[in-house]
Subunit: 337 residues, 2 copies
DNA sequence: ACTGGCACTCCATACTTCCGAGTGCCAAGT
DNA sequence: ACTTGGCACTCGGAAGTATGGAGTGCCAGT
């Protein structure tokens, strides 16, 4: 169907169009890439490619630009992920190694990725559900109020204020805290509900209503925070891009947590880089953008995802390289802290 | 210098220009506002206003638009803050009252304000320096590592991992924790350094190096977090605005924490609404924007600031009303939680 | 199967024209 | 001393009109 030369032509069109942002014609192609044939031949190939839907012309008598389908083929078969330069790797390392808590790691990562790719970077906080309990803390903050602090093995800290139905003595709190920790320490979050269900029987009758309140909030936290936290950076880079849809739509989409979540996609198991191109994107308003994403985590465990959003006209090999590299480094940082 | 009618003319020009976004001419003025005079008279007044620098014409033979100086006069003397409608007040209340922790309060507030004003909203987290200690928690997370959690009276939680120089027994941690809390509980952050300096003498010799490490990190946290946290929302609304400077500059400025901080300005004592117009703004790149800001806090205590950023061509009375109302409600919410 | 030639299309750009809103100024009116 | 109507003038923006060039499709020739 598509012989080698036609594929080469498609690759050349993608590369040229990405770098120049102008529809590329047959003559320009033979000039810049030394295919050993004449423009006329290329034109025939281009006609075929167009018929198959890989490229299109904005107007009659203009050059061709790749379609989403064209980019897809390019990403799948015609390109290889471009590794970062030494300098870039070093930059990542120095930039990320200074972080001192999870917020800081995520913040630095998202800014780094935005700067590296000159696009919009999106980073998801390590998932609660895939984390495990490192410590539970109960702190009385006022009469009738207790603060629940939940610390995960990834360094994430969640807090919730609990209204206790009954007055609570200092030692009851201590007792409950000890109980919770012995019961939950090291437990994966997914296993917490099961473990928790047996707890109320282990406390005295008078503490039981309080314990119940605490536990219900604890479970609620696990569920609610299941809708994960996502941050982005590099919106300024959007201004330099040119969308067919208005910039406003894209900005709006970015401010919706839910959309951001969907955007990164459900985690593929490993740390492979996934690409979603234009209309492959589920969200209206992001139909003229592409997303390059990867999972990151410690060891084999994928904790969350991060990625980059840009125009479909994007340097895929370079972006994929940056995303992959950053994902790996973040994993290392998390493992080390 | 400027008689009443000239002021009325200026007010009319500002109002018309804000609502139509087109330079306003003498004829349009007399039509829309019933000043009892002829266009020619208005022209004379406009000539004076222009000479004084309150208005300008984009090109010869175009209508006039207000200058920054003109807006300034308008805000100071020609307008009154517009109170919100019943519906808007109710919307604020229902939207904010569902919040369950500080992050949530701030997040809801910033989105609310952006939606209400259709501009970019900026909210600063309650300042640490003006807060006081509600509780200090020490949690051993691994051998040689302790997590320091700091809870403020505003519900803010800070955490830091501390590398302890020596191994630390469970009871040492408990001891240190108790010591810290009795010493610091309820203390304003500004007073913490003084109180802390006497602590090392109260611990046994073997615990002293650990205590020193903990204390140094504690103080460091206070200092570092002095650079406050600021969030913004509503960037999508920027797209609808028209800047003389490029949108990119504005977006870039917004992503700089430092700039955002400066943008809200040093806190005026009370909750009065302050306005900074165009070139009054310290930052390059925000020279064509105006900022409407106010402090918020509990009772008389101003904890932080929040505000709105938009084009100089802005509905000042309405925006000031929204900012003032939201600031008050947030104060109430914080006081109640 | 490839190539050179050729007629054709059509977008961008630049140049012109033209209209009207708006101005400044002046002399006359109150 | 203001205010007003009149008038000539300016200038930006819209609409219309070339013009050129890049690119195409097709065809006949190698």
């Amino acid at each position: 169907m598509l012989d080698d030369r036609k594929l080469a032509v498609l690759r050349a069109i993608v590369e040229d169009y990405v770098s120049t942002n102008e529809p590329v014609g047959s003559k320009a192609l033979v000039d810049r890439h030394n295919l050993g044939v004449s423009p006329a031949t290329i034109r025939n190939d281009m006609a075929v490619l167009e018929e198959q839907g890989y490229i299109a012309q904005p107007h009659t008598s203009a050059g061709r630009i790749p379609t989403d389908k064209g980019y897809r083929l390019f990403v799948d078969r015609l390109s290889t992920i471009k590794p970062l330069s030494k300098a870039e790797r070093r930059a990542i390392e120095t930039f990320l190694s200074g972080a001192y808590d999870l917020d800081d790691v995520v913040g630095r990562t998202v800014r780094l990725l935005a700067q590296l790719t000159r696009q919009v970077a999106v980073v998801q906080y390590p998932s609660l559900t895939r984390s495990s309990v490192r410590h539970v803390e109960l702190v009385p903050v006022a009469t009738g109020r207790v603060l629940l602090v939940l610390i995960t093995n990834t360094g994430r800290v969640e807090q919730r204020v609990i209204e206790t139905p009954a007055e609570l003595s200092e030692e009851s709190v201590g007792h409950l805290r000890a109980l919770l920790n012995t019961c939950l320490d090291g437990l994966a979050f997914g296993d917490v509900p099961g473990a928790v269900s047996e707890l109320p029987e282990q406390v005295s009758a008078e503490e039981r209503p309080v314990a119940a309140a605490v536990l219900s909030v604890l479970l609620e936290t696990l569920v609610e925070k299941h809708e994960e936290k996502v941050v982005f950076a590099g919106a300024a880079n959007l201004a330099a891009m040119d969308f067919s849809r208005s910039l406003r739509d894209v900005l709006e989409a970015l401010e919706e947590q839910v959309v951001l979540m969907r955007l990164l996609g459900e985690s593929a198991d490993s740390s492979t880089v996934t690409v979603r191109i234009g209309t492959e994107n589920p969200d209206e308003g992001l139909r003229s953008t592409s997303v390059v994403a990867a999972g990151y985590g410690v060891g084999d465990l994928t904790l969350a995802r991060l990625g980059v959003l840009g125009p479909t006209r994007m340097d895929y090999p370079g972006t994929m390289g940056a995303v992959r590299a950053v994902a790996r480094y973040v994993g290392q940082i998390l493992a080390g802290s």
